[in-house]
Each structure stands twice: as structure tokens, then as C-alpha cells.
Symmetry: C2
């Protein structure tokens, strides 16, 4: 008896499923490394992750995989189905990117990144840019070499080739246009707020709140948002993150400060937004396939920012959440009003540090990095000139002086890891979020009333229906247009910020 | 330029190292499954573990591996070195066992085990032996099939072939002789204790102690024992276990009952004993090699029992530990004396349940299982006759009536998983532990004084020096003889029990 014939598509799907099972094992190890791993276990963990990463790469780049893919692409019966065609389109993108990098370059990048990150940590600690400059230079050279391998895909632009890693099919020119519009409208708003004078941030907490009580309250809010704790966890880590391990297993982390419950809550809601996206993707139906995976980093970030900012800094949310917080956190919140927390959550003040910045000025940080990383990649900006240019730009954009490089151009880990083209996805997330928020509100006129009752189900249903279930069926820009009826623009985000901040600041 | 020649031994060592890195990734996933995994993540976890298990098996059973091994075995330069020869001897044992099982049998065992375990859980819950009997029969048939594949290695005895999986190179005949001696001396001692009349167990705890305080106290004791928390963790799980993931990463679990701090402490010390062995094995020097791995389950169990029982139920230990416990656990221990805890820790009373039994009667449970599993494997005992035979034997050996199969022959998970030949390693652990304890005390005359001060370093140093550092260099029986000067016997264990229990019970 001959075996029943297995189609190339079926073989390809099995391959993706098997690879994703292995990758997901690596994801568990990655999560464990940040939350559980004892210090002396780090060397073994690096070996484990390298072994699994190597196996996944090796499997997926086998020539048969390319042959099956080509056979599928030539099969009209497959390509005439739009979902299957989308699946093949993104598998091709991933396969080409995986086979285009020579092994020697992959190894050089891995080795240099490890050293460069270490050099960055030490340089940042001592605020010693000179010690990091040669590594910055090396990492940009390697990024350039990598971009050259990819660049044929994306019409030859080196930066676009890297951006495409994180935001498929976006281009710097397109982002530049939208970011310019954003900058044009944001700058005067921030100036007006600054001119309105410093508003004292009302105290929102009168006593320390123990971690265990905060943890229970954070779980309560995440549960109310719709996060399924039977298919996920909330733990502690130094830097909060979300790991979507696979179907049924999505893990969030946060961190707690006893004197500031808002710090943990905003982190939890941010990671919770990522987590809801991971739980909403059709991973079980399309195991390891693009149709079951996140559309892009920008879309992912839109989900986290939507819950952290658009929901979590809204008046309606606090009308529900403050009584809950009082119940959960006790006397520490006695005498605090919704207005107090709402204002505290919406304070705008330029900050040297990106990750400590408010919703408005945050984007100036991103645009600065977007501009400078393009100049560093093209060679227009020499690595050694970075601090001067950085500090001048911070003065112009944020009106503050950078006292040292630790709080200046050494603050972020990204470039030390070769993550070039990553930063813009943060602001993209804000812009997508504003468009989704506007569309979801239009579709659900009583959204504020629902939030006042702690009912987030209609919002989540809109996101599931319009974003989550598509995976990578559409490109991020297409997805945005389909979900909102409009192409990406800065308009909705500016409208949202203006509407909220003018009222908070009485402008 | 030609590549420098890599010897077969070097290739073999690389292979073992690579396989152990992958296995250790599987160990992390296994630990996570018992401690962290959200319920909906179980299906993916099964796939991840199967994928990694498959890869490890596939790699290790490649014909090249067998060829390298044969080349090494033919190389006098290698085999004349005793450590290398031992390494090769145990690699051969593992390789032969790995290649001897046909893939079809491996798959059948895996599938049947999953179903059988499920059937056992349901049958135990309802105390319905009839529902489990067909599965018991299937699992023993499969064990027989497996044993037949191995049996040529061990002179043809089917039971020995299975025992060898857990206790390399032990034989049922050898164990039978030692166990008979043990039974002969244990039975009258237990009878004398029973005749002395029920002694009221003094209360050792007067109020509930919150889990967090207990956890800190357990960590304190483990730290004092020498467990390195920079290379390990202590977490919670339903069934306590120790997972030696690899160099620098050994994880213990325990469970807490607020009304009984001794329950968690004895579990923690037991798992801590396993953990000290894992941390003491030369895993980093011999990555993935037998020289870096535990000698056997019996030797492993000797380490856990030594710390749990010989140390943790001793008067000297409690002279140190009770003041510590009072400091850590608070008023709950007020008015409790060392004598109270010591007596409570050394109560002998036959119990229907193996895992709830005391140090003495526990071994009668094991001998019962050892005898019955041999009879089940040979076919002398029919699965359907098990309950009657079991209950009769419990009446004879322990003097108690079995009220239902849930508390009788359905109490243990082992046979439902096909673990035949595993039970005797528990009593072997007690016997080895007694021999090691006697030798360590002879070598360290002030051991009790040290324990009274909470100084366990000399004991740990003796174990490191005489047991841990050897890995599998010697067979378990050889290791015992080298470390203690005597072959395995029941004498030291009986002496130890007699010495302690006669004084506790005033016999």
C-alpha cells in the first residue's frame, strides 16, 4: 500500500507547526530567564537557547522547505484563496529573510551583540560614552551588513530593510510623513501646557501598599479587562514584559513599588494589552503560521498602549477603578478622588528618560531616535558625534539640558543589541491605538458608560473582531485601514491628546 | 588546510553535551509544568516535551554514535584509564538500552501510559479496582515486552532488566536477601513498639503559621544544610520534587500546611538532600556524561532520606532547629520543647498509606510492592487477584485492615505509569543512607555537637567527598562499599532504628 499523498502545503504547515512548538519551548526558557532563573544558571540557559534557536533555524531553512513553498506559490488553487495567499506571502517573507543571512554573519552578530550589550551596561553605569562608541560603531556596521542582505526585498533602502523586520512593509518615507505631521501639532500643544505653568501633581497615595495586595488588585483589573488567567500568568520581573508562549500560555510580568500603585498598574495594563492580543490571535487554528501571529510590533504596541493609556488614563476607567482600588489597597487611598488620580495620570512634563515620559512628550523621544538612527546607519552621523547631536536635539525638542550621557544617548539598550528600525514602532503603536480607539468608540457609543461599570467586553470584542483574529492576513497598514476606514495618520492621536489635555490643563 | 582531527571520544563527548543541553531544556519545561503552567497550556506543553524528547533520542541513537562508542571501546589508551573506562561502560549501557527498544514499542508505551494514568486517577477516586484492572494488565504486558528487549544484558531475568533502569546492575536476588534480613529484624521491633501501647503524639504547633513565614524558615534550614540558592530555587507544587536541571540550576519544591510546619520542613529537607546531590555532582566538568550524573535512584534516595530522617529527626538537629523555628515561626511554637518535636518526629504507627508512613513501617510497604510486582510481572499473580492478595499482606505485615482499594492497591501511581522495578529503590535509599550515616559519623566524631550548632558542613563535605563527586564512576554497590568499607546490608539501618526507637519508646 502506498502512503496517501501529502501535499506540499500540508508539508509546509507541518513544518511550521513543528518549528513553532520548538520556538515556544524557547519562549518558556526566555520567560524563565527573566523571572525564575538562579544566577548561576545563566551559562546553561544561553546554551539551551542557542541550541533551540539553532534547531529552529536549521529546520526552517532546509532546501525542501523552499521547494514546498515554491510549489505552493505556483498552485492557483492555493493562491486564489485570499487567506492562504496571505499565509504564503508571509511565509515567503520569513523564509527569504531566514536564508538570506549567511551563517558567518549570524554568528558574528550574535557574538558582537553579547559583548556590545555588556559594554553598554558598563558605559551607561559610568556615563562613559567614549567606552561605548566603538561598539556602537560595530553594531551599526553589522546592521548595515544585515540590511544589505535584505535590501533587495524592499527596493534597496537599507533602513527600510531593517524596519521591515519589526514593521513589515512599512517605509521610513511613509513614517516620516506621518511623524512630521505629528510633530507639527504636538510641539505647540506641549509648549502651551508648559506655559500654563507647573500644576502640582495631587498625591494619589497616602501610605505604602504591600506587594501582595497590589498583586491581587492588578490581577483583578487584568481579569476585568478580559485576560484569561487559566491561559496565562502574572509574575514579577525587573523590566515588565509579555511573552506569548503559544496557545493557552501567555505570561505577563510587572514590578511593584510600595509607594506608587500606579506604577505597577500602568505596567500591568500595558502588558495586559499585549497579552489580550496574544490570547486573541488564532494560534491554535494556524499553529506556527503567519495567520496565527501578530501583524507587527506597531500593531502589538497599539494594543498595549490602548489599554494602558486610552483606557487606563481615562476618567471613565477611574470612576470604576478607584472604588475597586480602595477596596483592594485599603486606607492608602482614603480621601483620594477620581479627579486626583485622573490628573495624576495625565501630567505632561518633559523628561530626560524615554520610558518615564508622558503620553505626549514620549513621541518626541521616538522621533529623535528615528532620525538619529537613520543618520547613523547612512553614515551621515558619526558614532562619536552622537552625544553632542543628541543633547542639542533634546534641548530643542524637550527644552531640557542633558546632564550626562547616562540620561542621554546611553539610556536605551536597543542600539547596543543591534535593534535598528525598532524605535518607530513605539510611536506607530500610539497612532494605531488612537485610530482603533476612535473606531471602537464610534462602533460602541456607550463605551464610557460601560467602562464606568468596569465593563470592557465590548471594547475587547471590537479588538478581537477587527484586529486580533486576522493575524498577519493583512499588512499593518491594510489592517489599520480595514479596521478604521482610514489610512494611518497622526490626526486621531492629536485629536485625542488635545481633547484630553486641554481639559485637564484648562487650556 | 585540513581540519584538525577530532577523536571519536571527543565526538562522543560533544554529542553527550549537546544532548544534555537539550534534555536540560526539557527539564525546565517539566519543572514549569508542575509549578507554573496555566491549565490551558497543557496541550502545548505535551507537544514541547515530546518534540524535545524525540530530538534527544533521535540524536543519541544515530548509528555514528554507536560507531564512535565502539571505536572508543577498542582503544586501549582510553580503556586503561579507569574513569574513562567507567564513562564508556555507562555510555554503552545507555546507548544499548536506547537502541534496543523498537520505535513502535516506545510509541505504544507512551500512548498506553497516558490512558492508563488517566484510568488510574479515575479508578482511585472511585476506589474502583475493576475499572483499572485491564490497564494494570496492559501496563505489565508492556513492561514484560520492554524487559524482553533488555533482558539479554542482565542474564535474562525480566525483573532485573527493569530494575536495572533505576538501579544499574542490581539484581532482585541480591535485594531479596537484604530485604529479608531487614524484615526479620524490623517485624519484631515494630511489634514491640505496638505492644508498648499508643503514645500520645505531643502537640508541636499551637497555632497556624502563614505560608510566607514557613517558606522563609524552610529556606533558612536549606541554606544551613548547604543548598546554594544562587544555583537553585524553592517553589511550591502539589507533589514535592527536585529537578536537577543542570550546572547552576537545581530546583526544589515543597508544599505548606498552615497547621503543620513539620510537613513542609520534612519535604523540604528531603528534596534538599536530592538537591545537594545534584549540586555536588561534577556536571560542569563532565557535561552530559555518566561521570557527571547520579549513580542510581537508590543512591539519590539515600541522600534525601539522610537529610530528611537521619538529620531531620535527630535530637541534635532539633536542639539547633527549634530555637530557629521559634524565631522564624513565632508564637505557634511557644512552650514546645525539643523533646516534644523529637518524639513527634519519631512516632511509629502502621499506616495504610505508604507516603504517610514512618521511617520503620515504610519499608514493609516497599517489600510488599517489591514482592507483588515480581509476581505480577512473572504472571504468577493475576492482575484481577491483586486486591485480595494486597489486603491479606497488609493485614499480615502491618496488622491493619484495608477498608477500600483507594487506600489499598490503588494508592500509588507507579504501576499505572509502567514503573516496575522502581519501588525497591526507596528502601535501598534507606539502607544506603544508614551505611553512609554510620561512616560519616565514624569519620566525624563531633557530628552531633556540630549539628547542635547548626553546622552541617562536615557532613556535607563527607557526602561530597565520598558520594557526590564520583557520579557514575562506580556502580551503586561498589560506591557503597568504597564509601563505607562494607557491602550493602540491612545491619546499619536496623541498628540506627533500634537505637533511636528503643530510647524514644523506652523499650
Amino acid at each position: 500500500m502506498s502512503e496517501p499523498e501529502v501535499s506540499s502545503y500540508e508539508k509546509l504547515m507541518r513544518e511550521l507547526r513543528d518549528a513553532s512548538v520548538l520556538s515556544s519551548a524557547g519562549a518558556v526558557l526566555g520567560w524563565d530567564q527573566e523571572t525564575m532563573l538562579p544566577p548561576k544558571g545563566t551559562a546553561l540557559r544561553a546554551d539551551q537557547l542557542a541550541a533551540i534557536g539553532g534547531l529552529v533555524h536549521e529546520r526552517f531553512t532546509r532546501p525542501e522547505v523552499g521547494e514546498w513553498l515554491s510549489e505552493c506559490e505556483a498552485d492557483r488553487a492555493l493562491t486564489s484563496d485570499p487567506r492562504t495567499a496571505a499565509n504564503l506571502r508571509e511565509i515567503r517573507r520569513g523564509y527569504d529573510r531566514a536564508v538570506k543571512l549567511p551563517g558567518s554573519l549570524v554568528r558574528e552578530i550574535a557574538q558582537t551583540t553579547a559583548l556590545s550589550q555588556q559594554a553598554w551596561r558598563q558605559a551607561r553605569e559610568k556615563s562613559d560614552f567614549a567606552a561605548f562608541a566603538p561598539w556602537l560603531s560595530k553594531m551599526f556596521s553589522l546592521s548595515r551588513a544585515k540590511a544589505e542582505c535584505y535590501a533587495t526585498d524592499v527596493g534597496g533602502s537599507l533602513y527600510d530593510a531593517l524596519l521591515d523586520t519589526y514593521e513589515p512593509r512599512a517605509s521610513a518615507a511613509e513614517l516620516d510623513a506621518v511623524f512630521s505631521e505629528l510633530r507639527r501639532k504636538l510641539t505647540p500643544l506641549i509648549a502651551e501646557i508648559a506655559a500654563a505653568g507647573e500644576r502640582p501633581r495631587p498625591p494619589v497615595q497616602r501610605a505604602p501598599v504591600p506587594v501582595e495586595r497590589q498583586r491581587a488588585f492588578n490581577r483583578r483589573v487584568l481579569g476585568q479587562m478580559g485576560f484569561d488567567f487559566d491561559a496565562g500568568r502574572l509574575d514579577l520581573s525587573a523590566h515588565p514584559f509579555c511573552e506569548g508562549i503559544g496557545p493557552g500560555d501567555t505570561r505577563l510580568t510587572t514590578r511593584f513599588r510600595e509607594d506608587d500603585f500606579l506604577d505597577a498598574l500602568t505596567s500591568s495594563m500595558h502588558e495586559g494589552g499585549h497579552g489580550l492580543y496574544e490570547q486573541g490571535l488564532p494560534k491554535a487554528e494556524y499553529p506556527g503560521q503567519p495567520l496565527g501571529e501578530a501583524a507587527s510590533l506597531g500593531i502589538h504596541e497599539s494594543q498595549s498602549r490602548l489599554w494602558e493609556n486610552f483606557v487606563g488614563r481615562s476618567h471613565a476607567f477611574w470612576e470604576w477603578a478607584l472604588p475597586e482600588a480602595r477596596r483592594g489597597l485599603g486606607e492608602a487611598l482614603e480621601g483620594v478622588s477620581v479627579e486626583d488620580v485622573y490628573r495624576a495620570s495625565n501630567t505632561v512634563r518633559p523628561n530626560l528618560i524615554r520610558v518615564d515620559s508622558d503620553e505626549a512628550t514620549y513621541n518626541l523621544h521616538i522621533m529623535l531616535r528615528f532620525d538619529l538612527e537613520r543618520a547613523l546607519l547612512s553614515g551621515e552621523l558619526k558614532p562619536e558625534d552622537l552625544p553632542g547631536v543628541w543633547n542639542e536635539r533634546v534641548r530643542q525638542d524637550l527644552g531640557i539640558d542633558v546632564p550626562d550621557d547616562r540620561r542621554g544617548c546611553l539610556q536605551d539598550i536597543h542600539w547596543s543589541m543591534g535593534l535598528v528600525g525598532y524605535f518607530p514602532t513605539y510611536t506607530l503603536g500610539n497612532l494605531f491605538a488612537a485610530q482603533f480607539w476612535k473606531a471602537a468608540r464610534a462602533a460602541t457609543p456607550d463605551l464610557d458608560d460601560r467602562m464606568r461599570r468596569g465593563d470592557f467586553s465590548a471594547l475587547l470584542a471590537w479588538l478581537r473582531e477587527n484586529i486580533h483574529r486576522y493575524g498577519q492576513e493583512y499588512t499593518p497598514m491594510e489592517l489599520c485601514e480595514r479596521a478604521t476606514g482610514s489610512r494611518l495618520s497622526a490626526g486621531p492621536f492629536i485629536e485625542y491628546l488635545e481633547g484630553k489635555l486641554r481639559s485637564v490643563y484648562g487650556l
